[in-house]
């Protein structure tokens, strides 16, 4: 009798525990394929806008202007609608992995910012599964059509983006160049001589921000137009799997040059600990003479260090591998709405708010680091000096925006470069690693060009 009672109790206890588990699963997919809670929410959605909602907004450091203009606009949105935005900012070096893990585990924020380009969007965030499409929204029609491919997948537009096209240059301190009788270098040998002279004067020639993970990678792929010019149809061949990164001798040359610069001390002693956020101070305080950045960065320096004047700053094309063509990248970071969010409708309201003409202007005015936005209705503000120089340059599309499986491994290449700088791998090994990684990603995604 005791035995029967004990067995019954044991069975009951187990059942109770599992009944609890079942209760917790109320959000499991229903017959329609949608989580039951989502369906219920859709049904019970009030006609008027929601109030008192707190939206989570996940981003990497570079995804939000350091001036806090997006946060200011969010405050205005809160005052107007009663809905709050909670910004969750992660380090650049971790965000790409983090957002993927969050999306894959169903824990992504309501709105998230990621770097978007036409070739990597799917591998980065699987928009069809994770993102609310905004194709039919009015604001999409007002964005520059050139940026739409970066935020679209399978003919659906998924996000909203603001920065204009990106072009990276070396921004240099004209005062230092003048004091040392230096002229702007146009090839690698000249570049080396300039750096040696600056180093001899006790100044770090180049501020390299390795900690962020992305900055050191720029010379490799922003020089893409030069590779494409030297090897006809290169981008196309690479996308058809008829050529890979290890077929580009100039890429290896540039990587070797980067290593040589590190070994010669042109990046300074502690460049592996440098962050891009500290570049402005180093540049304004004349601790470093050159920084690889977009032209708008000069204005960020002025905003933070008003003693610096625009006349003290100049730009020149990165002369790695004797390159003289500037790479243009139509892609930039963009904001997306988590499809599975309970408050996707409020997030969309926020997008519409940001896209209002007056708020677009506020955004441009509040972010000295960008000189234009990808909204033709807002006029750009390139200074005449820079404009004249840029207009006279030959231009081409950067490799990461035109060749598949390049941008998706950007941060990993940043780590590979660190490996090379500390002597763990050679430049030749590095090229092989990144070429193999392209193949690996293509095979993983069952790219038809790799199936042959």
């Amino acid at each position: 009798m005791r035995k029967v009672f004990a067995l019954t109790m044991a069975a009951l206890m187990t059942t109770t525990i599992f009944a609890g588990c079942a209760g917790a699963k109320s959000a499991a997919p229903s017959e329609t394929g949608k989580p039951a809670t989502e369906e219920a929410k859709e049904e019970s959605k009030p006609a008027e806008s929601k109030k008192g909602v707190t939206l989570t907004f996940g981003s990497h450091q570079s995804g939000l202007p350091t001036t806090g203009i997006v946060q200011s606009l969010a405050k205005e949105f809160e005052a107007e609608t009663g809905n709050k935005i909670d910004f969750q900012i992660s380090p650049d070096a971790q965000w790409r992995d983090l957002i993927k893990v969050k999306l894959n585990s169903g824990e992504a924020p309501d709105i998230f910012c990621v770097d978007a380009d036409p070739l990597s969007l799917n591998s980065r965030i699987s928009p069809a599964d994770n993102v609310l499409p905004v194709t039919n929204e009015e604001f999409v029609q007002r964005m520059d059509p050139n940026v739409l491919p970066s935020i679209s997948y399978n003919k659906e537009v998924y996000g909203i983006t603001f920065p204009g096209k990106k072009m990276y240059y070396y921004i240099y301190n004209k005062d230092i160049f003048k004091e040392l009788n230096l002229t702007v270098p146009t090839n690698y040998e000249e570049f080396k001589k300039v750096c040696q002279t600056i180093k001899d004067a006790g100044i770090t020639p180049i501020y390299e921000a390795t900690q962020n993970g992305w900055h050191q990678v720029l010379p490799l792929f922003e020089s893409g137009p030069m590779y494409a010019k030297k090897h006809e149809g290169l981008y196309d061949k690479m996308n058809k799997n008829e050529a890979n990164l290890d077929d580009i001798p100039e890429l290896l040359t540039i990587i070797k040059q980067l290593k040589e610069f590190a070994d010669l001390g042109y990046y300074g002693d502690n460049f592996l600990s440098n962050t891009f956020e500290n570049a402005k101070a180093a540049f304004a305080n004349k601790e470093a003479a050159m920084v690889m950045a977009e032209t708008g960065w000069a204005f960020e320096v002025i905003a933070d260090f008003p003693e610096m004047k625009l006349e003290q700053m100049g730009i020149f094309v990165m002369p790695w591998g004797d390159n003289q063509i500037v790479g243009v990248n139509p892609a930039s970071n963009a904001y997306f709405i988590n499809k599975k969010s309970e408050n996707a409708d409020v997030a969309l309201e926020f997008f519409k708010f940001l896209a209002r003409p007056e708020n677009l202007q506020k955004r441009l005015d509040g972010q000295p680091g960008i000189l234009d936005v990808c909204w033709p209705e807002v006029p750009s503000r390139y200074p005449a000096d820079f404009k004249t120089y840029i207009d006279g340059l030959e231009k081409g599309t950067v490799m990461q925006a035109a060749v598949s499986y390049v941008d998706s491994q950007w941060m990993e290449v940043g780590k590979d470069l660190e490996d090379m700088y500390v002597g763990a791998i050679t430049p030749e090994q590095l090229v092989k690693i990144i070429a193999d990684r392209r193949d690996e990603q293509a095979l993983l995604q069952k790219d038809p060009a790799w199936a042959k």
Binding site: A6, A11, M13, D97, V101, N270, E418, V422
Partner: protein
């Protein structure tokens, strides 16, 4: 068979079923997925045999470094935490030390801090140009000892292990203190009468009676060491380059790449390592247990 036992075996049934479903089954399912090409880009899951395992162990893959780093981390931090924890416990149970409870609290306090906070704080302290450590060394005339603590290929991993020991030794100390306090003082009195020195008392009384606790602490340290992730991630993110990467940072990387099968394979390798190592430790514990 013990006929006087109070409870029948099936009272443990609920726990066994829960353990089986929530702990054991996922491990086995993970082993199954490691034999497939499961990834984020395709709904299909195909059986591919041991390809993922071969990729991990073949010639020049980075995974070898990650496995080596994990084992090194486990071995070094286990030894360091045990030695430091035991040393601190001996010191702070000594009656000559004043305010011992306060000192114990101070040594234990890093344990209650989150790994992320510790990682970020130390990242700042160890910054080569603006960090406290290098500036302090320069300030006291030890300029020659300044180092790139987190970015020097030969130092970074040692730094990570040191910080982890700093954080974890307090916990081991608390366990050791509890064990030390449970040893009857009569042993020491008797040994003292026989003229035993401090070292002899430690060697022939304290250490043998602490053995079961040391083995338990070792199990805790080994299982933590093999599964380490947060400390490495917060301090170096596996850098410089991939020099301080461990199995779990690689698992994280593979999941973020969408290569779930490889992430699962690495987890399975870890699972097997943990099981194998624990088996030997528990065997050792069974053989060498000493009754206090």
């Amino acid at each position: 068979m013990n006929v006087k036992k109070t409870y029948p075996w099936y009272f443990a049934l609920g726990a066994i079923i829960i353990y089986f479903i929530l702990c054991f089954l996922p491990g086995v399912v993970g082993l199954f997925y490691s034999l497939t090409d499961w990834n984020a880009y395709s709904k299909e899951v195909n059986y591919i045999g041991f390809k993922n395992y071969l990729d991990i162990f073949k010639g020049n893959s980075q995974y070898g470094t990650f496995i080596w780093n994990t084992l090194t981390f486990t071995l070094v931090t286990t030894i360091l935490k045990t030695v430091v924890g035991l040393g601190m416990a001996l010191l702070l149970t000594n009656k000559l030390i004043k305010l011992s409870s306060f000192h114990r609290m101070v040594v234990f306090s890093p344990q209650v801090m989150s790994y992320l906070v510790v990682g970020l704080v130390f990242k700042s302290l160890l910054h080569p140009s603006t960090g406290f450590v290098n500036n302090f060394l320069a300030g006291v005339g030890l300029e020659f000892m300044k180092r790139n603590w987190l970015t020097d290929l030969h130092l970074a991993f040692n730094t990570v292990m040191t910080v982890d020991t700093w954080k974890g030794a307090g916990y081991i100390m608390v366990i050791m203190i509890a064990a030390l306090q449970s040893i009857s003082p009569t042993y020491y009195e008797a040994a003292g009468i026989d003229g035993a020195s401090y070292w002899h008392k430690f060697r022939y009384i304290t250490f043998p009676l602490l053995k079961p606790i040391i083995i338990n602490a070792t199990i805790l340290n080994v299982t933590y060491g093999l599964r380490v992730f947060d400390m490495v991630y917060a301090l170096t993110n596996g850098g410089p380059g991939n020099a301080t990467g461990v199995i779990n940072t690689a698992v994280y990387k593979e999941f973020s790449r969408g290569n779930y099968a490889m992430g699962t394979t690495l987890s399975s390798v870890l699972f097997i390592f943990v099981l194998a190592i624990l088996y030997f430790i528990i065997k050792a514990m069974e053989n060498k247990e000493v009754d206090a």
